[in-house]
Subunit: 143 residues, 2 copies
Amino acid sequence: MARNKQYHQFLRQCGLKVTSTRLLVLDVLMSTRTALSHSDILDKTRGSRLDKVTLYRTLNTFITHGIAHKVASEDRNWLYALHPIDRNNTVRDDHAHFICDQCERIYCLPVQTRNSMPAPESEEGFVIRTHEYRLHGICPQCH
Amino acid sequence: MARNKQYHQFLRQCGLKVTSTRLLVLDVLMSTRTALSHSDILDKTRGSRLDKVTLYRTLNTFITHGIAHKVASEDRNWLYALHPIDRNNTVRDDHAHFICDQCERIYCLPVQTRNSMPAPESEEGFVIRTHEYRLHGICPQCH
DNA sequence: GATTTTATTGCAACTTTGTTGCATTTTAGG
DNA sequence: CCTAAAATGCAACAAAGTTGCAATAAAATC
Ligand SMILES: [Mn+2]
Ligand SMILES: [Mn+2]
Ligand SMILES: [Zn+2]
Ligand SMILES: [Zn+2]
């Protein structure tokens, strides 16, 4: 409940009205290391009669306001996560998505940026603007 | 129709029965540069009364037999493509997916392998086995 | 070439994920 | 406290994909 004040301030900074739904969803997303699906979040908020449509809209609002982003899971639905934050509290938009082949959880991991971006091989006319690294393997939980 | 003989041989090599559906889908996938969705393929085969379930099953068969692979599109559904083939006719499983931000087409592009894989930064316990590069930008068609 | 075996196909019904329209409620600011 | 604007809940809908089952087509054996 001390958190709530911080979340409140944070939402207002983002130009959003503060609602109980937004505080709730923000808290769920804050308290996980892995990206969560819409139904994961619904499960974690059982008892708070949060409507599924409202949750979809809340997540989209978070995305359009730069609070969260979504990642496609291996079984074709969206997982949502807050933007990873650096040691110096700045948002890292250059990060990788680690997909555990065993538990299927997806983690947003900071990666070493010294690696150069893979360039298309002898292909002309492809102009790269952004990129996403998806890493597959085994996560610490499943090791 | 000269192609059909090649496809026929190819399917048998893969341990699959030769059916008109498989020949048809193989031909569609052969004759495109970009990954296609289930409904793209249905559209391109209109007139051949190919059932949607049969198409899903055919695509999955191609995947489990190493003929094709699927890529998640930006709007959360699967696009299917044959494995890209090298100059020396060997399958490249190390390639990038180029997503055009304008036309939303996805291309499988060979990439220079000299770039090292991005390693997780100071994170322990993540064992990377494979990876996928997703590159966003503008494709030659939309340039 | 006909027969048998086995895999593939088509259809209907269903599930899961996500969207739209609209009436009601909540928020923020004066 | 009052008001305008935004957020919410509900019902109905749409798209993507799956399951079970009976009918059909491929290929192996004779
Ligand atoms: Mn991420
Ligand atoms: Mn590919
Ligand atoms: Zn795991
Ligand atoms: Zn394009």
